[in-house]
C-alpha cells in the first residue's frame, strides 16, 4: 500500500489543473452519453486525447495516448475533472464496453479500424443483446444470421438498444449456428446501423422518455469478416463485453458524485430554516451511505491496481455491478426523501434542455431501477457471484423443461 505521490504525480496534478484552468471555457457540460456528441463535445474530446487525459493507456497505434498503466495517474486525472465539475470526456457503450472488448479479443485489423474513431466520438455504438424472449437468458437469443455469398444475412429483433436511434454501429449477438447447442451457436457481429433492412423504433420507459429502442432486422447484410473472434464464439465475446459493462454500471465515481450532491443538499437550510444535516436521524442515514460509498471507492482502487498488475480479481469484479446499482438506488432514495414534496414536480425537458433538480433526481431514481435490471439483473449477478465468484454449483437442469429453451 503506497499512495504517496511521486514528484511525477505531483507534476501531473499541476499540469491537469493548469489545463482545466486554461481550457474550461471549451468544455461541454458533464454527463451526456444519451445523445450524439455535438461539435463542442468532439473538439473537447480531441483536446483530451491530445493531452492524454482520455484513453491514456490505449496504445498510440489505436488512437490512444500510449502511456503505461498507472492507477494513481488515472485517479489524479479523474479527481481533477470531478473536483472542477468539468466533463472528463465522452462515455458511451462503444468507449466503455466495445473498445476494451476489442483490445482483449479483437484482431489487429479491428483494433486499428474501430478504436480510434470510437474514442474520438466519431463512431457511436449500440448494443444488440437482449430480445423480447430473452432478457436475462441472453444465450437464448433467436436473431439469426445465415451466411450467403460472403455475407451474414440477419433477421430478427433486439430490444433495450439504447442510443440505437443515433448510433453508427451495433455490436450484435446473434445465432449463426442453429444446429449447435444454445451457447455454442452464437456469434458477435459488428453491424452498420445504416444497412438496409434495419428499423429502429423508440421504446418509452417509465421516466416518460424514450431512452431505449427496439431494433428490427430484415435481411440485413454484413460482410463475413465483420465478426469478433470466430463463428460460435459469440457467447465468449459477449461475456467479455458484459464484464466491462458490470464495471461501468457499478462505477464508484458516480456514487461519490451523487453522495456529494446529497450532502450539499442537506447542508442547505430547508423550508423550516434548519438543515437536515443537523438532524441526527437524517445525518446517520447520510453517514451510513458515505461509509458504503467509501468502501466502494477503495474497492475500486484495489481492482484498478490488480488490473494494472495483471491479477485476476475474480469475485472482487463480479460484485461491482450488483453492489453499485443497489447503492445508487439507496442514494437516490435519500435524495427524494430529503426533497420531500418539493421533489415531486416533474417536467423532463427531452434531449435539448437541462432538467431541473427535482426532475433529475426523479429520473435518476427510476433509471437506477432500470440499471439494477439492465446489464444482467441482480438475480443474474447473484448467480455469477455465487457460481463464478464463490464456486457454488449451477442450478440443475429441469427434468421436464417448461416452454422453450
Amino acid at each position: 500500500m503506497d499512495l504517496t505521490l511521486t514528484p511525477k504525480h505531483r507534476a501531473l496534478r499541476e499540469e491537469v489543473d493548469a489545463f482545466i484552468a486554461a481550457h474550461r471555457g471549451a468544455a461541454p457540460r458533464p454527463g451526456g452519453g444519451r445523445k450524439r456528441p455535438d461539435r463542442k463535445a468532439l473538439d473537447w474530446q480531441a483536446l483530451l486525447l491530445e493531452h492524454g487525459y482520455f484513453a491514456r493507456t490505449i496504445p498510440r497505434e489505436y488512437g490512444g495516448f500510449g502511456a503505461p498503466h498507472d492507477v494513481i495517474e488515472l485517479a489524479i486525472i479523474a479527481d481533477a475533472f470531478s473536483r472542477a465539475g468539468i466533463s472528463p470526456g465522452i462515455h458511451n457503450q462503444g468507449i466503455s464496453m466495445l473498445v476494451p472488448t476489442l483490445l482483449e479479443v479483437g484482431t489487429e485489423e479491428q483494433k486499428r479500424r474501430w478504436i480510434g474513431p470510437t474514442i474520438r466520438g466519431e463512431v457511436i455504438w449500440c448494443q444488440g443483446y437482449s430480445e423480447p424472449g430473452s432478457g436475462s437468458d441472453l444465450a437464448a437469443a433467436q436473431t439469426r444470421a445465415a451466411v450467403e455469398d460472403g455475407h451474414f444475412v440477419i433477421n430478427g429483433q433486439k430490444i433495450w438498444t439504447s442510443s440505437a436511434h443515433f448510433a453508427d454501429m451495433m455490436f450484435l449477438l446473434c445465432r449463426t449456428e442453429p444446429e449447435q447447442p444454445k451457447h455454442a451457436g452464437l456469434s458477435y457481429l459488428l453491424v452498420p446501423m445504416n444497412a438496409p433492412g434495419i428499423e429502429v423504433r423508440p421504446l418509452r420507459t417509465m421516466t416518460g422518455r424514450a431512452e431505449f429502442n427496439e431494433t428490427f432486422f430484415t435481411d440485413v447484410r454484413v460482410p463475413v469478416d465483420q465478426i469478433v473472434m470466430g463463428r460460435g464464439q459469440g457467447w465468449h465475446v459477449a461475456n467479455v463485453t458484459l464484464k466491462y459493462e458490470r464495471l461501468l454500471l457499478g462505477d464508484p465515481n458516480k456514487l461519490q458524485q451523487r453522495f456529494e450532491a446529497i450532502r450539499r443538499m442537506m447542508e442547505q437550510p430547508g423550508a423550516e430554516g434548519s438543515r437536515l444535516l443537523d438532524r441526527a436521524e437524517w445525518r446517520d442515514r447520510l453517514l451510513r451511505l458515505q461509509g458504503e460509498v467509501m468502501a466502494a471507492r477503495h474497492h475500486n482502487l484495489r481492482l484498478l491496481t490488480e488490473q494494472a498488475e495483471g491479477v485476476d480479481s475474480g469475485l472482487g469484479r463480479f460484485i461491482v455491478k450488483y453492489h453499485g446499482t443497489m447503492l445508487a438506488h439507496r442514494l437516490a432514495s435519500l435524495a427524494l426523501d430529503a426533497m420531500g414534496s418539493s421533489g415531486l414536480p416533474y417536467e423532463p425537458q427531452g434531449e435539448a434542455a437541462e432538467d431541473d433538480a427535482a426532475t433529475t433526481w426523479q429520473i435518476d431514481y427510476m433509471y437506477d431501477i432500470g440499471l439494477i435490471i439492465g446489464g444482467g439483473s441482480s438475480n443474474i449477478q447473484k448467480n455469477i457471484i455465487g457460481e463464478r465468484g464463490l464456486g457454488l454449483p449451477r442450478e440443475p437442469k429441469a427434468a421436464a423443461p417448461a416452454g422453450r429453451n
Binding site: 437468458d137 418509452r204 420507459t205 436521524e281 427524494l336 431514481y365 435490471i373 429441469a398
Partner: protein
C-alpha cells in the same frame, strides 16, 4: 366485536374496484394521466355516482356519513388502479377540516357542496405536516397574502384550503382576485400539486372555531396520512399482484421464472412485508373515528411504515418484470409513481415517526 371488514365494506370495496377496473384500462389511464392535472370530469362524475363525494359527509348534509375506514378502502382502491381523481385532500381532509373546525353555518354551507361534487378543494399545510417548499402565509385585515407550495388535489380544484401556521385554515376560491394557482405536474401524473401565490386574497371562509386550532389541523393531517397509507397499500398490492402474474407466465432459461427461488423469494418478501400492512391501515383508519387517544400515533406510523414497505415493493415488483417493468408498455409505473407521491407528501417516514414520538409524549413537539 371483530377486527375485520363488514360485508358492506367488502361489497363497497369490490364495487369500487370493479368500477375502476372497468373505467381505467391501461389506454384510458394513459389518456387521463397525460395532462397531469389529477382530474377527469367523467371519472369524477362516475365516482360521485358511487357515492364517493359524500362518503364522509354526515347524512344531514347530504352525504353517506360513513367512516374513515370506508374512506381508507376507497383510497386503497384508487391507489390500486392509480385513479386520476382528487380524493385524499378534496374528499377526506377537507371534510375533516370542516367537521373539526368549521362552525355550523360553514358546515351547512360547504359540506353539501362537497357531497354534490361541486366543491373540489385542494389543501395544503405548512410545517405542521413536514411539507417542504414555500410556506409563508399571513392573514391581515381579512386578506391573505404570501405563498404556499404543494397543495394536494390542486388540479382543477374549485377552492383551496390553506392552513396558516397557527392551525386556522382559509378557504379561497380558485379564480378569485389575488389568487395565482400554478399547476405543478408531479412525477405521478395521476395527481397534481398546486403552488399558490396570494396577494390580498379574500377567503370565503375561515375555519377557526375549534378551541385548539393546531389540534384540529393535526387531525386533518392525520386523516390525510391514513389515506396516503391506504393509497400506497393499494398501489403496492397491485404491483405485487402483477409481479406474481408475470412470474407465473414469463419463461427464461426454459422455465417459468416464478419457479426460480430468486424470483419466488422476491415475491415472498413483498407479500411478507405488505400483508400485515392491511390490518395496520384498517386500524389506523378506524382509530381516527373510534380511538382518539391513539389516532395521531397510528396515523403517522401507518404513513411511515407503508412508505417504507411501498418503496421496497415498488422496486422488487419492477425487478420481477425485468426490462418490461422499466418500460412504459405495461403501465406498471403508474403505481410505482403513486407510491413515490404518497411518500413525499404530508411528511416522509422520518418526519412521520418523529410525529409518532411526539404523539406518545416521548419528546416535545
Amino acid at each position: 366485536m371483530r377486527f375485520g371488514l363488514t360485508e358492506d365494506q367488502l361489497l363497497f370495496g369490490r364495487s369500487l374496484r370493479g368500477f375502476l377496473a372497468d373505467r381505467l384500462p391501461l389506454d384510458a389511464l394513459r389518456r387521463l394521466a397525460e395532462p397531469g392535472t389529477g382530474f377527469d370530469a367523467e371519472l369524477w362524475r362516475g365516482l360521485g355516482e358511487l357515492g364517493l363525494h359524500g362518503l364522509l359527509v354526515p347524512e344531514e348534509h347530504g352525504g353517506a356519513g360513513l367512516g374513515m375506514l370506508d374512506a381508507a378502502l376507497a383510497a386503497e382502491a384508487l391507489g390500486y388502479h392509480a385513479a386520476p381523481a382528487p380524493f385524499a385532500a378534496a374528499l377526506v381532509m377537507a371534510v375533516q377540516a370542516f367537521r373539526s373546525a368549521g362552525d355550523a353555518e360553514q358546515q351547512g354551507q360547504w359540506l353539501p357542496r362537497i357531497a354534490e361534487g361541486q366543491a373540489r378543494i385542494g389543501l395544503g399545510f405548512a410545517g405542521l405536516a413536514g411539507q417542504t417548499g414555500r410556506a409563508a402565509l399571513r392573514l391581515e385585515g381579512g386578506r391573505l397574502s404570501g405563498a404556499l407550495d404543494g397543495l394536494m388535489d390542486g388540479g382543477d380544484a374549485t377552492h383551496f384550503l390553506a392552513y396558516l401556521p397557527d392551525g386556522r385554515a382559509a378557504l379561497i376560491e380558485a379564480g378569485a382576485p389575488g389568487v395565482t394557482a400554478t399547476l405543478r405536474r408531479s412525477v405521478d401524473r395521476t395527481r397534481a400539486l398546486v403552488d399558490l401565490d396570494l396577494a390580498g386574497a379574500a377567503p370565503v371562509a375561515l375555519l377557526q372555531s375549534s378551541n385548539d386550532p393546531l389540534a384540529a389541523a393535526r387531525r386533518v393531517r392525520d386523516a390525510g396520512r391514513v389515506m396516503l397509507a391506504a393509497d400506497t397499500l393499494g398501489a403496492a398490492q397491485n404491483m405485487l399482484d402483477r409481479a406474481v402474474a408475470y412470474a407465473n407466465e414469463r419463461v427464461q432459461f426454459g422455465r417459468v421464472i416464478g419457479s426460480f427461488q430468486g424470483v419466488k423469494y422476491m415475491c415472498a418478501d413483498m407479500a411478507t412485508m405488505l400483508e400485515p400492512c392491511r390490518a395496520m391501515v384498517w386500524y389506523a383508519a378506524y382509530a381516527q373515528d373510534a380511538v382518539p387517544e391513539e389516532a395521531a400515533m397510528v396515523a403517522s406510523h401507518a404513513k411511515a411504515h407503508l412508505a417504507e414497505v411501498g418503496r421496497e415493493v415498488a422496486r422488487l415488483a419492477t425487478e420481477v418484470h425485468g426490462g418490461m417493468g422499466f418500460t412504459d408498455l405495461l403501465g406498471l409505473h403508474y403505481q410505482f409513481k403513486r407510491i413515490t407521491f404518497d411518500r413525499q407528501v404530508l411528511g416522509g417516514p422520518e418526519r412521520c415517526r418523529h410525529d409518532a414520538a411526539v404523539a406518545q409524549g416521548w419528546i416535545a413537539a
